[in-house]
Amino acid sequence: MENALRITKFKSYITLGIFSSVIIYLIIVSPGFLRFDNLMNVIVSATFVAIPAMGLGTIMLSGSFDLSFVGIIGVVSVTSIRMVHAEIPIPVVLITALAIALGFELANAFLIIKLKIHPWLTTISTMLAALGLEKAISKAYFLTTSHSFFQTIRFESFLGVPLPVWILGLSFLLMYLLVHKTAFGMHLYAVGGNEVAARKAGLKVERLRFSSFAAMGVCIWIVSLVYLSQLSGYTPEAAYTNLNEVILSVFFGMSISRKNVITIPGAVVGALFVALLANGLALSGVSSYWIKLIEGCLVIVVVITNAMGSGEIVQLEK
């Protein structure tokens, strides 16, 4: 047990240590890595991962799971772009997009919470359905737009910082306050940590769990707009390629947290690490074919340190 405690205490340093040494190595070998505009590029590309990771983290810390968000982002994006092409005013497009995102996530929540279907089964199915719907609407075509709304987000800066970085910063601030500073956030943790205890403390468990899915719906809505802006339109299954990175970010954040729990800052730091890694590896001339392999090996490191921290390995030996 002594050993286990020592590992728990230091495991956050282990993960951070491994990742920082990788980053330091990249700083040394790749020129230009630390330049302001490169770092801004990194943060912009981290936005695609960080925003859904905050939503997923919220769902996971309240005891559930979601895979379907990648498909929902696709549906929201392609529908929005079709509406923009049909010259529907932007406010209407935005409201419809939000409604679609919330609708899908509340459907997930209904299946998982009310019908008690396993979250993996539920959201794999809704992911497939959403990806199918995305493809049916887009016919797998790239759909571009040069609408000023999206152009502004992509190219404008405020105080020298690109707008997508502001979007990430504001979303982070909102989610951070919501999850870590309000009673609502604390109740979400209680539901995920001990549902029976939460129920007995008089918390409205179902409503709380529904809300965590709604939070994900809002994250999906925001990130869809970033996708549409940054890619100047709709790219088929763009979000789907980031699925693993989102999940990785959440777990990464968990493994660096002191209490070994999922946190919003943790998820964002995780996303930034993944983005820095991909960027640094590319800059230092590593072929893009190898980047996934390296990322995958790092996931394994994260999972192992996590298992040590939660005492699972130790319990087996007892």
Partner: protein, 504 residues
């Protein structure tokens, strides 16, 4: 003092196949400590679950301070000030002490939407210090606390809501003597603040020390309320058992004589909850293992079987042996049927035949491949011998009834010669017919020379099946008695009574 705070009338709760509560009336005055006792399945926990809103009664009414409640949910009962402190702790392990105590009662900061953790910690600390008299840092994580500290945090958490009724469910089980004294001091303090206490326990010493009155339940009915100053252990026990039940013991019925050849001797076995227990087991004997829930009987057999770390000496047929893991035990001809057949005993997705051969699969696998034909032959034999009702040996085991699943779990051990069979409450949740068949089967196995150790909380089962019964209390060996000499009162007196010495 005599105004009734809680008044439950005609509470009935039915579960499939069981009448858990049969028109129970239960009322407690304000500021009283009321103990509830009853045997396993008497209805204590169902009553508490109705009171805390976890179950909804089929009929009956609940009144608190004269206010009638028809729709009972955990929310309603919680806000009415009914708080339960359970044995298994109701805390989130990665919350701090302050967060746990103030959960759903958070302090608000200057911006009303946000919580003020510093204020929460201060309030929690004051509560712990002032009302409970213990100094715990509110920033500590729950998972870093001792069992007793966790319990005190739970009490503090309950006190935040200024409860009218607090329920303690076997609160002293994990505590040391000193911690128990402290807890009783706290409970008395609560009473002096006008809080009504419902105290569930099977430890008579404690009940007489802490409670004012006692409610005795049996078979889903409330038998009587007694003032503890005007009663004694014997009276309570006879209410719990309902007088002497006429059950013929096995030795009387069969005129049987167990051989005096000793199969197993255990000396000073120590493990988690097991305190230096020694016993012996004769060839072909059925030894019952009885005690209140958590008295150490399950840990005793698990330690013996190599599932828990242990110290002590084990002699099998006079020869000292070491059992470090279940495979050691199996190799020496010892089988174990755990209580939870779904989780620990059977592989639900396997067929009947596959479950029967699981522990001895090597014997059915010459050359490394399982010989399905001989596996099926063995299973068919077992189906016939044990009268398992199934369509075939290839039926997936989860489609069988509970009683038949239990037979399959037993059959696993009968494929090869067996010296000792250990069973943990094998008739739990099976119907009467299957129960009798399991008895018949166990009698047959034992008369063929296999010794049996059976954990059971049922007096009738001990009387009908066992030759001797070993009684444990708090991990200690209280008595081993010849079953033909006992009645239920004697059994309970040893298992939960305060008198009586420890067998060493």
């Amino acid at each position: 003092m005599n105004e009734s705070l809680l008044n439950m009338k005609g509470i009935t709760k039915r579960f499939p196949g069981i009448l858990a509560l049969d028109s129970v009336d239960f009322d407690v005055p304000k500021g009283e400590i009321r103990a509830i006792v009853g045997k396993n399945g008497a209805g204590k926990s169902t009553l508490i679950k109705i009171l805390t809103g976890i179950y909804t009664p089929d009929s009956g009414s609940v009144e608190i301070e004269g206010k009638h409640f028809s729709h009972i949910t955990p929310d309603v009962m919680y806000s009415e000030g009914i708080q339960a402190i359970y044995q298994e702790n109701d805390l989130v392990s990665y919350f701090t002490v302050g967060e746990s105590i103030m959960l759903n009662n958070e302090s608000r900061g200057t911006v009303r939407a946000f919580i003020d953790r510093r204020d929460m910690n201060e309030k929690a600390h004051q509560l712990l210090l002032g009302k409970i008299g213990i100094d715990i840092d509110p920033r500590k994580l729950i998972r870093d606390l001792s069992v007793s500290e966790k319990q005190l945090v739970q009490i503090a958490k309950a006190l935040v809501r200024e409860p009218k009724i607090m329920i303690f469910d076997e609160p002293t089980a994990p505590l040391s003597a000193k911690e128990i004294d402290k807890l009783f001091e706290i409970i008395r303090g609560l009473r002096s603040h006008g809080i009504t206490i419902i105290y569930i326990s099977h430890r008579f010493e404690e009940i007489f020390e802490i409670a004012d009155s006692i409610t005795i339940m049996r078979d889903g009915k409330k038998i009587v309320d007694l003032n503890l100053k005007e009663t004694n252990e014997d009276e309570i026990i006879s209410h719990m058992t309902g007088g002497n039940m006429q059950v013929a013991s096995r030795s009387e019925g069969e005129k049987r004589r167990v051989s005096d050849e000793i199969t197993l001797e255990v000396e000073n076995l120590e493990s988690e909850r097991v305190n230096k227990i020694s016993f012996s087991l004769y060839k072909g004997e059925v030894l019952g293992l009885f005690g209140a829930e958590g008295a150490g009987q399950v840990e005793l057999v698990r330690a013996f079987y190599g599932l828990l770390p242990k110290r002590g000496k084990i002699k099998l047929n006079g020869k000292e042996t070491h059992i470090r893991k279940p495979t050691d035990a199996i190799r020496k001809g010892i089988g174990y049927v755990p209580r939870d057949r779904k989780e620990e005993s059977l592989v639900r997705t396997f067929t009947l035949a596959e479950n029967v051969t699981l522990s001895h699969l090597n014997a059915f696998s010459p050359g490394g491949f399982v010989n399905k034909k001989s596996e099926l032959e063995m299973a068919d034999q077992m189906i016939k011998d044990l009268a398992i009702s199934t369509r075939s040996a290839k039926t997936v085991v989860s489609f069988l009834s509970g009683g038949n699943q239990q037979k399959v779990a037993i059959a696993r051990w009968l494929a090869f010669p067996l010296k000792i069979l250990i069973l943990d409450y094998p008739t739990m949740g099976v119907d009467v017919q299957a129960k009798l068949e399991i008895y018949r089967l166990l009698k047959k196995i034992s008369s063929e020379g296999t010794s049996i150790i059976i954990i059971t909380p049922e007096y009738e089962e001990i009387k009908m099946l066992c030759d001797r019964v070993m009684i444990l209390k708090d991990g200690q060996h209280r008595a081993t008695l010849d079953v033909k000499d006992i009645d239920e009162d004697i059994l309970l007196k040893h298992a939960i009574g305060s008198s009586g010495s420890v067998v060493s």
